[in-house]
């Protein structure tokens, strides 16, 4: 219990025992104190709460309203159209459906690869290597750079670098026009995001691996367990909480991928690699169909929120178990 509210109750008790002449004076004193507290509370919490309400809450709730209108952002008229936008998305808007499926596919692939490679890198640099600090830095470095610039870097690699490697080595994979074909362009985005994300995930796994007691591993080794058995039966169960964290971190970030998508392929060729976030952006700011854009954004929000709620429930459950 907070000591100030305790003070209040003590005062309140004292108040009832006091003679009536003093009561009015004490009440005004209490009121004054309450006002002062409320004022302090407003002073401390108010500024950021104001920014939060104006920048996050109001746009979020008006956005939900706009999802049910035909708002186009240009003309002033906003007409309520009920569920028409959603009906349109699920029956007519093939691009949205393709984007949705593509984003799901991309998310699954990116989660698996980022975590496998991230975990592998963590295992690698957790060994007693002479260059482990340098290696950590190297693996982590792509993560510093924002998705936009990374996408541009890889655009050059796919267009010029790969062609050159293909010419020099004759390996056919490098001779493909990676960004010119829907399938390889998809894998292009995957490669960029894995290259960026693996180092970040590695850092979290390293922290988890460092918490595995060395004695436990040594004891198992003495008992005759081989390296793989140690990994499977000792290390893996002990880093399981970190795996949960990493899985959901990558899920959320993959599902929301935008920057690398924009700079690497810009949704091309022919919108075949347009992920959801880019699809929403194009609908709103290129096609100027704000109402439909908002309907998409609402669906997007529901999916992201569902993933996050699932994450919180699972990690809470794990905490109780352990």
């Amino acid at each position: 219990m907070n000591n100030e509210s305790k003070l209040d109750t003590v005062k309140g008790a004292a108040l009832t025992n006091q003679k009536s002449t003093k009561v009015s004076h004490s009440v005004s004193f209490l009121n004054k104190k309450k006002w002062k507290e409320a004022g302090l509370f407003t002073l401390f919490v108010g500024p950021v709460l104001l920014a939060f309400i104006l920048i996050v809450l109001i746009p979020f709730f008006t956005g939900i309203y706009y999802a049910f209108t035909d708002w186009n952002g240009v003309t002033g008229s906003v007409k309520w159209v009920g569920l028409d936008n959603f009906k349109y998305l699920f029956t007519e808007d093939k691009q949205f459906q393709t984007s949705f499926i593509l984003t799901t596919k991309y998310t699954v692939v990116a989660i698996i690869l980022t975590n496998l490679i991230g975990f592998g890198l963590a295992l690698l640099v957790a060994q007693k290597l002479k260059t482990k600090n340098v290696l950590r830095t190297v693996f982590f470095m792509p993560n510093l750079i924002g998705g936009l610039i990374l996408g541009f870097i890889w655009q050059f690699i796919f267009v010029k670098g790969f062609a050159s490697i293909g010419q020099l080595t004759g390996i056919s994979v490098f001779e493909l026009a990676w960004l010119g074909d829907a399938k390889t362009a998809f894998w292009g985005i995957v490669i960029v995001s894995v290259w960026q994300g693996a180092g970040y995930i590695m850092i979290i796994y390293i922290a988890a691996l460092q918490n595995v007691p060395q004695e436990l591993i040594e004891a198992a080794r003495i008992d005759g367990a081989n390296r793989f058995q140690v990994l499977r039966h000792i290390t893996m169960p002990l880093v399981a909480p970190a795996v949960t964290i990493c899985l959901f971190l990558t899920t959320a970030s993959s599902f929301k991928v935008f920057d690398a998508n924009l700079s690497l392929t810009n949704g091309g060729p022919f919108k075949s690699t347009e992920m959801l976030a880019l699809n929403i952006y194009t609908e709103a700011f290129v096609n100027n169909r704000y109402g439909i854009g908002e309907a998409k954004a609402l669906i997007f929000f529901i999916v992201v929120a569902a993933i996050t709620v699932l994450q919180v429930t699972i990690s809470k459950k794990k905490e109780v178990e352990s």
Binding site: L43, A51, F60, T62, Y66, R136, K160, E218, F301
Partner: protein, 275 residues
Amino acid sequence: MGNRYTWRTSIVEILALLLGLVFLVPFYYVISNSLKPFAEILTNTSALPKVLMFDNYVNAFEKLNFLTVFKNSLIITIGSNIVLVIFCSMAAYMLVRTKKKISNIIFMTFVAAMIIPFQSLMIPLIKTAGNLGLLNSMWGLVFMYLGFGSGMTIFLYHGFIKGIPLELEEAAIIDGCTRFGVFWRIVFPLLKPITVTIVILNSLWIWNDFLLPSLVLQDPELRTIPLATFFFFGQYTKQWDLALAALVIGIIPLLIFFFTMQKHIIQGITSGSIK
């Protein structure tokens, strides 16, 4: 597993180094080609430059208007960090120390709103921001970062402040210090470790952010580094000599930041993600 450096470890080491080189290959291509004339980029993409040529850099530096762009990124990142640290630490402190229902409701709202993806509110945001006069202004953008960053920043401060004992503050209040003074003189200095984490996480996010500034800042004079890079690439498509130099210029500030703050960055990411 002994501490000896065995032949097995050395093989792992060589493999790890090779993998490290693979990770660096994109950087090699971008940097080595940024030092070549255009024709050489097309004919000899994989080779090292025959002569080091810095013309591309001089050119890109000017065309990017890099000094202005860099200054804008710096003002926006530093400004946002300052308001985020000041107002979120104050708010988190009050929310922890005021044991009332309203504190809990406010805190939960901040945390819950962290779920909302940016795309879900950007369309009405631009309209609201237009009405409030926040568009096309760096301070408007800073105000928006205060709104968007508040959830995570308050969440991290809140968790940290809960672990700070009340006794210190009580003693200071008895000595006649005001609540405001107690917070700034006694509590805030204790928050330093979490403040470092918060500043690093927010800096990397704000410095690299593209979508929000692209919607808010229309005036070319106000562009940040990611924005300038984006428009530069659009304008000089396939002019790789200029484009690559521009990319390298855009990355350099980040690398400097990373190498000076490496230890804090790694720690910050570890503690930020686990919470």
